[in-house]
Symmetry: C2
Subunit: 303 residues, 2 copies
Amino acid sequence: MVQPLPPLAWFRAFECAARHLSFTLAAQELNLTQSAISQHIRSLEHRFGCALFIRKHRGIALTDQGRRLLPEVANAINILRSASETLETPADKRLLTISVSTSLAQWYLAPKLKYFAEDHANLGLRIISKVWPDEFAGSKADVEIRFDAPGSAEPGSSRIGSNKIVCVASPDLVEQTREMSPETIAQFPLIQVLGTSDSWTRWSAVRGYGGGLNITCNVESHGAAVDFARSGTGIALTSYLVAAPSLIDGSLIRLEQQDMQAHDGYYLTIAQNENVVQAEAFSKWLQAEIRQAEIAAEALSTG
Amino acid sequence: MVQPLPPLAWFRAFECAARHLSFTLAAQELNLTQSAISQHIRSLEHRFGCALFIRKHRGIALTDQGRRLLPEVANAINILRSASETLETPADKRLLTISVSTSLAQWYLAPKLKYFAEDHANLGLRIISKVWPDEFAGSKADVEIRFDAPGSAEPGSSRIGSNKIVCVASPDLVEQTREMSPETIAQFPLIQVLGTSDSWTRWSAVRGYGGGLNITCNVESHGAAVDFARSGTGIALTSYLVAAPSLIDGSLIRLEQQDMQAHDGYYLTIAQNENVVQAEAFSKWLQAEIRQAEIAAEALSTG
DNA sequence: TCATTGGCATTAGTATTGCTAATGGCTTGA
DNA sequence: TCAAGCCATTAGCAATACTAATGCCAATGA
């Protein structure tokens, strides 16, 4: 059975106090109070069942045991400190490469990445925007967020966002805020996103609409669909998470209370490498932004 | 400024997991849960800002950084473990020498030391009883408890007990439990402790009694005074802490509600050596026993 | 002689950390 | 298809770390 070693903090307190022959000076060096040092030393002595220092008025002296322990502890601490310093990459030399769908680049990274960057001032960021999933192959990014079908996603990836498909349009185009029927929606010019099965055809089936569809515009991404919709080109059937910022700022409005469950979605993968911690930080930050945007958009549509 | 090192527990978790290539096996070896190991590794990776392991299904592999860190950490841990083992004296080879006044030996250690010994089963105890303070000189005991005057006590010693002097006698001798006046007390044979200024003379002065004193018996210690008082030889003026056990068991009763503040007392000194921790443990135990006895005796006298 | 100073010891209280239990996710093998 | 094995994560609680405050003591200087 492995006997637990004392905490490193106790060893450090001991080594530092022994070097200074002073608890007070050791406290200053280690950014603790003299009380903390005193307690650490005492705990170490209790743990070993022997005194390491002789307490004198205005100072301390090492006992024989303390003298024997000191070089060993100093050596071990030096090894750990050196190893730690070797391992730590200076933050200002680190570059995080993020390969992301243009939709998310446009509607989340462009307007918001500066906030992440502020919190990670010494972290370099390299953003690569891509449209099609196969463009990501061999890209060697630390973080990848690609738009893909469930079965095609990378092993170890996780889906992000609420997985909703919504009908949105510029308020100028539709000139009303009441819920629209599928029949009315179908009368407008429609914007279709290519490369996904979440299409107007699927929308018709889900809504039980059997009439014609006036698809006048095909775009390559949800981000583009949002762009065109904002300019009044037509009604877009698009990803809620991509549309959320525009719903929040009023550039777009939802035309149906009911949303459609998305088949395809955004999948995030983190490379297991020396940047994994930064990649996870970015991933968490982005997903928080998305969630926040979706919640805010939701609040608007029900307020 | 010294950057704090990660806790040793994190390093140990890392080293052990790296050696086993398994968090689960590392947990078994270190007597933790797999969850604890996982969290330690994760914390270490966050601390260093890089991954140390590549997680695979059913196992882990070291990253380049992990491979670099492992020998350094393993070395440091081995140094600390070896140093710790060298320093720890096997408990069953330790002998605590206690040099103590016969009064305390007789009335506290003889009846109660077995309880301390039970809690410290592997600690040898050597009790040396002494009467006169000068007998302690050069005794090289780990703990000394000598009866002394305040000014003569060893530097660094601390006084123990409540510092009260009381009049006690066997209930058979005085045949009453009512408070006795000084005049009545003085009619009885009196037992005097030699070598202390807390004498019947001082008692007379404190009580404002100007008559004669019937001192028929002089003894060399408070413990002996208690002994003689128990056998009905006379009324003893003695230390409350020494008399407390006899007051508790009813062998003696107090004759005055008011006690006299002691001038002399029992002074405890702990040698600063490799037994300091055990000496302190003993010291605390004994003082707790004394306090407990005095409190119990007090409760009886006011109940 | 006495007040001051400096340094260690101790305690109480609070914040932080360490750990377990429970559960989820994922891949592999039967 | 399902069980098994292993890592990841979360919630909750116990244990620890630390500070602030204070006590004690001896040396020093006025």
